[in-house]
């Protein structure tokens, strides 16, 4: 592996070079000649082609999983540049380990585990984070929802108000609620954010999340519950008239 890459790749990232290599933003793949042939192929087929040295197949995999991988890296490390390095390391580890990948788990599972290991090593080495298992216990104290909203018998004193639209599609499409959700997620404690991102944004199964974050099933459930409660509350505060949460 060469060590002088930093400066080199920064300098070659001009738009014309990007065009030349057939690499364009993932959102602009429509009509992209390089991306088109692999779009319909599943991961295992792409992996097979990458083994044979097919660059288009590799970029296909990178585009398919790259954004989600970056999001996963951000769960472990806060610094954006470090997150990108972790992603890069992970893809290199994928290439190095490709011949040993037997397809017993899905490619995505394998890829995510590689990234999580790299990110954890990196974060530990830099002393930037404590394990999620340690964080998971910390914010376990207070009830997820303000107890003042209920009377002594546990019935609503301050019931939820109706939202203008209570479908996922409208919440995600409306720029305002999307921004509210994104900032609410960003403001969550790290372990809650990690679980929410993996479960709700990425759609991973609970068991896989426990593996990746090295937390117990109980922790995963509590963290997800608290995180969802917070994000719903942020939307409610917004719907009630922009009061801050």
């Amino acid at each position: 592996m060469d060590h002088h890459v930093e400066g080199k790749w920064r300098s070659c990232a001009k738009p014309e070079n990007i065009e030349r290599l057939g690499m364009r933003s993932a959102t602009k793949t429509a009509g992209d000649v390089a991306g088109a042939p692999v779009a319909g192929l599943d991961d295992s087929e792409l992996v097979r082609r990458v083994r044979a040295g097919d660059r288009t197949a590799f970029t296909g995999l990178v585009r398919r999983h790259g954004g989600a991988l970056l999001r996963l890296a951000r769960v472990f490390v806060h610094d954006e540049a470090v997150a990108e390095e972790v992603v890069q390391d992970a893809w290199m580890a994928v290439l190095e380990g490709l011949d040993g990948f037997e397809g017993r788990s899905s490619f995505k599972t394998w890829l995510y585990r590689i990234l999580a290991n790299r990110a954890r090593t990196r974060a530990t080495r830099e002393g930037r984070t404590v394990p999620f298992s340690a964080l998971a216990g910390v914010d376990d104290g207070a009830p997820a929802l303000d107890p003042e909203r209920f009377d002594d018998a546990g019935a609503w004193r301050d019931p939820p108000v109706g939202w203008t639209d209570e479908t996922p599609e409208r919440l995600a499409l409306a720029a305002e609620t999307r921004a509210v959700m994104e900032s609410a997620v960003a403001a969550l404690p790290p372990a809650q954010r990690a679980v929410l991102v993996l479960r709700d944004e990425d759609g991973l199964e609970a068991e896989e999340i426990c593996n990746l974050l090295d937390i117990t099933v109980t922790n995963q459930r509590v963290l997800l519950h608290r995180a969802r409660t917070h994000v719903r509350q942020a939307i409610e505060a917004h719907m009630r008239g922009g009061s801050r949460c």
């Binding site: 790749w9 070659c12 995600a172 944004e201 969802r228 409660t229």
Partner: protein
């Protein structure tokens, strides 16, 4: 009989399909009768669903380029 407060505590377990059969029945009995809790449950589910529809972050083009470059070196090294 579950209270409204208990419903808000159990909503994630409910939505995730983790409730026991008995708790699930009690949960349904409550929300069948309580409009506010029905609304609450709907909102939590909509929130979780909406999070899944948020756009995935984009890979910076420079990062993609670097990966392709590395792929080429990897390929060369393999011979």
């Amino acid at each position: 009989m579950l209270t409204c407060r208990e419903i808000t505590d159990l909503v994630t377990e409910y939505a995730e399909g983790n409730l026991s059969l008995l708790d699930s029945i009690r949960f349904h009995m409550h929300i069948g009768m309580c409009r506010s809790c029905r609304r609450y449950v709907r909102q939590v589910k909509a929130t979780a669903g909406a999070l899944g529809l948020l756009p995935t972050p984009e890979m910076p083009p420079e990062l993609e380029l670097e990966l392709v470059r590395r792929f080429e070196s990897w390929k060369r090294a393999r011979g």
